[in-house]
Amino acid sequence: MTRHLSAELGLTLRILFRQPGFWIPTVLFPAMLYAFFGANSGGGAWAANAMASFAVYAVLGVGFFQFGVSVAQDRASPFATWQSTLPGSAVPQWIARIIAAVIFVTLAVALVIALAHLMTDVDLPARAWGRLAAVCLMATGTATLMGIALGSVASARAAVPLANLVYLPLAYLGGLWVPPIAMPAAINAISEWTPTRAMGELAWAAMEGRAWSLQDLGLLAAWTLAAAAMTGLTTRPLRRRPSA
């Protein structure tokens, strides 16, 4: 299993890192949006919350969008078809994808944080950074699994528009661009059920030194399980149709 996982990880990381055209924009994009829209939100608690929001947004963009879409595109490729004739379970392949997503998310989030230090006066205790890192890690699992779930039902062509259709509203509804208090009540009512709102609430709690609420943790766990179940259901070894 570990040998298999390291083989999958080696292959996945080689393919991704040897494509600067893929990873440079993927890592830069959230930081760029943060620089334009997040870093000028004043100082103090606001600055820390905005930074946390864009860190979560970076997680969503990389995990859900990039990795979800790539699953759909891979699924249609003859190489992936050949891969599924090989012995061994498909699980290490998914784990390798999630690890790769974590690596890219770390780079993207680190860039947001670096910009926050350059452009604002954020100053947080070590514990708050640790909790933000934990939130990002949990969110990566959820976002990547959701992306994989979407990627495993959408066709290669439909994946990009479909991912946009889900991920942009999710970022907005989660309060990652506009804080929830600025939302109309009706939107806020929907927002409270989204995985991104749960991620945001956990991140803001970390910034403000509040305890995490069980409700937010539970909501995130529920979305994670749902995404994992959907991925499991749609990627059984024998598909009804060959993907070639």
């Binding site: 040998r3 298999h4 083989a7 999958e8 080696g10 292959l11 080689r14 393919i15 040897r18 494509q19 490729s77 003859p78 190489f79 078809t81 050949w82 599924s84 004739t85 090989l86 012995p87 061994g88 379970s89 070894p237 024998l238 598909r239 009804r240 149709r241 060959p242 993907s243 070639a244």
Partner: protein, 297 residues
Amino acid sequence: MTMTQSDLAIHAHGLAKRFGAVQAVSRIDLVVAPGEALGLLGSNGAGKSTTLSMLMGLCAPDAGKALVFGHPVGSPAARRLTGATPQATDLPDQVTPREILTYAALRYGVAPAIDRLTADFGLDDLIDRRVAGFSGGQMRRVALALAFVGQPRLVFLDEPTSGLDSAAQQAFRVMARSYVAQGGALVLTSHHWDEIEAICSSIAVIDRGETVLAGRIDTIRDRARITRLGFDLPPGLVPPLWLGARHDGARWQVETGDSDTLLRRMVTEALPFANLTLQPLELKDLIHHLRHEENRP
């Protein structure tokens, strides 16, 4: 000695597969023993690749059952024993053949025999080059090597030599024959009759999703020792109807399972033929002849 199901490399019967309105495969039966090479023949869209997809466990049949060395197709045990080159090949641009071969070997749990595969498939200049920019034939060579890297006992090759130059085709034939001679089972599709004849001991002809003719090539030859007679006639003269000859644009030709009787009658009836040639039918024409015969009312 009779073979049990787990001795057979493939034991498939009644396979069927429909895609929407298209009945891609309607009834396929196949049996392949170790040390046997089976050639799947049939026109474009006949259902060869769909059959292979089902045997590789890539798509579930709607009906029928297939076992690989006694294991259900697509099961971990079946996949461990099987290698494959699908009809379409594309490898990720960013990796080298050595990296992909090593990866595949690891999934099979064997040591990658890079040097042997490099020699067998002519990868010397390619093995450490990134795949981006490989020509069609270069890509094909890597894809073929990948089918064998896991030391499989059964290999599926869908149009293995499409895009290969003639030297590479020749090398592939040698390699395939030695794999089979060492007890490997091979199933390949091809549109090249000479390739099938050079590698395969058996064939299955698929037409519109059904096996219409199957068996050992030598048995098929024995079953129908068909000879093709060619001859010229003086201009304007047409051969008698009983002869059943046709003109191919250059000469008169007739196919027969009993050339002696036919020739005797041609002589007795004093047909003024000239430049008589007799040759055994090539496999391609033989099969055409047999199917034509069977379809006659």
